[in-house]
């Protein structure tokens, strides 16, 4: 029996799920059908194309730059290796 003997918890759980799911459906109908990236972009006032941060050159600009990704990943890997050797858990 995967559902245990106590029913109170199950009722609370299902009630919570019903409320949460109803709110999610209302929010989805209000926001419209779109993917998560586009939803973020819309929520923050961006257009359908570029997301926030891309038109402003003030921040980090790694997105889409393969060399930067490889460089950062290499630094992270080296850092993790050093930390692992130094602070082995």
């Amino acid at each position: 029996m995967i559902f245990p003997e106590g029913r109170r918890g199950l009722f609370i759980f299902l009630g919570l799920l019903a409320v949460v799911f109803a709110l999610a459906v209302v929010a989805y109908l209000a926001a419209g059908d779109m993917g998560i990236e586009e939803r973020f972009s819309r929520a923050l006032g961006g257009g359908e194309g570029e997301g926030p941060g891309e038109e402003n050159g003030g921040g980090l600009a790694l997105e889409g730059n393969l060399l930067s990704y490889v460089a950062v990943l290499g630094v992270l890997a080296a850092g993790c290796y050093i930390l692992y050797r130094r602070f082995r858990v």
Partner: protein
């Protein structure tokens, strides 16, 4: 499934450093506490499996509510605890950023959000045991509340940081983010069922894996 789905450059360098530093402080504290304890090989194995599973589900878009993904962070919290769980979510976020799922600069913020989910999931699962002995509803409720807190943390982090190049005022951004959080919680329903079933099954075949939170 709270996760800041924005590109690098969305947060200013100052806030990238702030969230990274905050995440590293928490990770550092976790490491120090873990080092002071006896190494639990079983927990490390479970954590490794959790890392692989969480990384995989992070990349799978579920075609509901426009396409979303699970995180399994409350499950990680229940199975490994908040200390080991914080290391798991850091690794998952680094690997996800490496394949373009969230920017490198947002790893700190996303790790903090996921640590909130891991910790709340763990705490609710453990603390609600006297009220609800059943594993399925307890794990499910821990998942819903963990993900709810994660979404609140996500909204707070974005509002505090601000987004570069955004012209909307704070109330409009808050409204948009609240919609995202509400839709995310719809997916939390799916994740709650999955987590509940996994924990109920583990409680049946390997109750020792759940520690004091078990049946």
């Amino acid at each position: 499934m709270a996760h800041v789905h924005l590109q690098d450059g969305s947060f200013s360098l100052f806030w990238v450093v702030v969230w990274w530093a905050a995440a590293l402080v928490l990770i550092g504290v976790s490491l120090l506490i873990l080092r002071s304890r006896k190494t639990d090989q079983k927990k490390i194995t479970v954590a490794a499996f959790c890392t692989a599973a969480a990384f995989a589900v992070f990349q799978v878009s579920i075609p509901i509510f426009g396409g979303v993904h699970l995180t399994l962070t409350p499950l990680i919290g229940i199975l490994t605890g908040p200390l080991t769980g914080s290391l798991v979510v850091l690794i998952v976020n680094i690997l996800s950023a490496a394949i373009g799922h969230g920017g490198y600069g947002l790893i700190g913020a996303n790790t903090l959000i996921n640590i909130v989910e891991v910790s709340v999931g763990y705490a609710v699962f453990r603390l609600s045991k006297p009220l609800m002995p059943g594993l399925f509803p307890r794990a499910g409720i821990a998942t819903v509340l963990g993900l709810l807190c994660g979404n609140v943390a996500m909204i707070l982090i974005i509002l505090v940081s601000g987004i570069q190049g955004v012209s909307q005022d704070m109330s409009a951004v808050l409204g948009g983010l609240s919609l995202i959080a509400a839709i995310n919680m719809g997916v939390a329903v799916v994740e709650a069922f999955i987590t509940g079933l996994i924990i109920a099954y583990i409680g049946k075949v390997r109750p020792d894996m759940l520690g004091s939170g078990g049946p």
